[in-house]
Assembly symmetry: C2
Homo-oligomer: 339 residues x 2
């Protein structure tokens, strides 16, 4: 298997991304194509080369441009046809890579994937799923930002796509919850009420509405929402975690006993931080395009990049896209029969 | 000043609520009317009576019915006209109380307030504001659940109402943020984009879009959103805080050093927990009705009830409702002039 890594995107630059690629090849029998500025990437690769097995499985494909973080995604992919993210997805399109991973401009990554790979049959709107840690298994939320104004059929398709993705966590028949403001049928806005009816009538394993407080309980495997709500949930969670950490530190700094206590308990806090760290879970998969793409956080460390690459491998192994095709085709048949 | 307390609602029952009322009268020169089952409340009051000054400032008004937590709000207030929450708001309507506080069924509290007090002039949709702790001053988010499908003018009015409420935190010219999925103009769903234009054209202190991660930073004083999104934010925050606490405890229990460390640092953690505890801030004010009402969390302790009562007092003192009337009247004039 070969994964294309956009080696120019991300807040920490090509060196950190190259290191992530090396971690991934060392851990598995994988081949990786670094896409970006050839001389820069070759220099990083040479400086890290230790002769360990697997390192020769990394190749470089040159791309002359880079999409910057602040650029308009639509403009960027139109103007920068030779950008690292466009070239990475082109490798997937040509069958020269099985998946592409990028920690660059998220909107541009999404746009490049749709442009190069195209939407899957029966998919109205490709979207982005995100993995949330919970008290039990991780939960997959979709959409988290690609589609801000949705109709019920979009949310329905997110349910099918996110369920297929759940197989990377070895979940065979994922429980699907619809994000709303009360558990009872009939609670929620118009979009949620109509989506509820559609999900309840389907053969999916729909368990009903879930509330904001249920997200971290782990009692469902998939949570469906529109991209506006999902993106706010994602960023609110990140913001709350970081503000809480700051508040705890402020309080601890006020007393010597607390400082000593914190020192003793630090391994536990580190274990907790790892448990809630997005990097542990890889990146956010792009679902609904004819190929596999993973969007990583801009602040992804080498470790996070490695996990995203392994996640892409798992998506290939678990045949996530084939499952989406089948799921949506079955639903299309159901709908035709109902007519 | 006299505050009516629905002494039957809430998960901990009349005894805890009565205790909260006593805490409030002891702290201030306030008068409180407990509304509910007279013999039950009298018995609780007698058992707590210590002869301390102020305790005689509590009176009881009988109400023969109670709205249960699971009941449909609309049905409940139609059928149970003599319920404690209806009687409490009737006291406000008659001028026998300056505000009502309830920890019972939130929907029924909202419905009782609207039914008994009526909507303010120029208010299309009364709503519920909620107070979020941040790294700096608390932030007021509105709406958090009363209005799930909104139009731009509703969000605009929430901005005016929540700004008026901010005066209870001694904020003179609150900075208003619009909850969206990117800070730039043009980011967000249709509702947000239209609301942005309206807020930017007004004389309000509108600072632009804010993202989920900004909620806890304290760089704005008011965050405006529809009730669907706001309710999900509120419950997601509660759920994340409680899940994180559980995860930290799980990790600490795995090592003796961590347990000792946690014991030493416990005062710091308690201080943190107080800082993020909704109960410290009182309850969620109902804004847009002709009178003052506060909705408390069902799990409100006596301390939380006391804080909600003090919050109601502050709303009266700071003339929050008069500010809302003026703010909306000024906006109505602006709109007429524009026509």
């Amino acid at each position: 298997m070969r994964i294309a890594l956009d080696a120019m995107g991300g807040d920490y630059g090509p060196e950190e991304l190259t290191r992530g690629a090396l971690l991934a090849v060392k851990q598995t029998g994988l081949q990786i194509t670094l896409v970006g500025n050839q001389p820069v990437l070759q220099a990083h690769l040479d400086s890290m080369y230790s002769g360990a097995s697997g390192e020769s499985d990394i190749q470089i494909v040159h791309a002359s441009e880079v999409v910057e973080m602040g650029e308009s995604p639509v403009d960027a992919i139109r103007k920068k046809k030779d950008s690292s993210v466009m070239v990475a997805f082109d490798l997937v399109r040509q069958g020269q890579a099985d998946a592409a991973v990028s920690a660059g401009n998220s909107g541009a990554t999404m746009a490049a994937a749709v442009r190069k790979l195209g939407r899957m049959e029966h998919v109205s709107r490709p979207g982005i799923a995100s993995i949330f840690p919970t008290l039990k298994k991780p939960v997959v939320m979709m959409d988290v930002g690609a589609n801000v104004d949705c109709r019920p059929q979009h949310l329905f398709q997110f349910a099918v796509m996110a369920s297929a993705f759940s197989h990377v966590f070895d979940i065979e028949r994922p429980r699907i919850g619809l994000l709303s403001i009360g558990e009872e049928v009939g609670k929620g806005n118009l979009l949620v009420k109509e989506t509820y009816t559609r999900l309840a009538a389907s053969s999916l394993n729909f368990v009903g509405n879930v509330e904001g407080r249920d997200v971290f309980q782990g009692n469902v495997d998939v949570i469906v929402c529109d991209g506006f709500v999902g993106n706010i949930c994602l960023k609110l969670s990140e913001g709350l975690a970081s503000a809480a950490m700051q508040m705890v530190k402020d309080e601890i700094m006020k007393s010597t006993a607390a400082k000593i206590g914190y020192f003793l308990a630090r391994p536990a806090f580190r274990a907790f931080a790892r448990r809630v760290d997005y990097a542990e879970y890889g990146g956010a998969p792009l679902l609904g395009v004819n190929g596999i793409g993973i969007i990583c956080h801009g602040k992804s460390s080498a470790e996070a990049i490695k996990n995203a690459i392994l996640e892409a491998v798992k998506m290939v192994d678990k045949k996530v896209n084939q499952r989406i095709v089948l799921g949506l085709a079955a639903n299309a048949l159901d709908e035709e029969t109902m007519d």
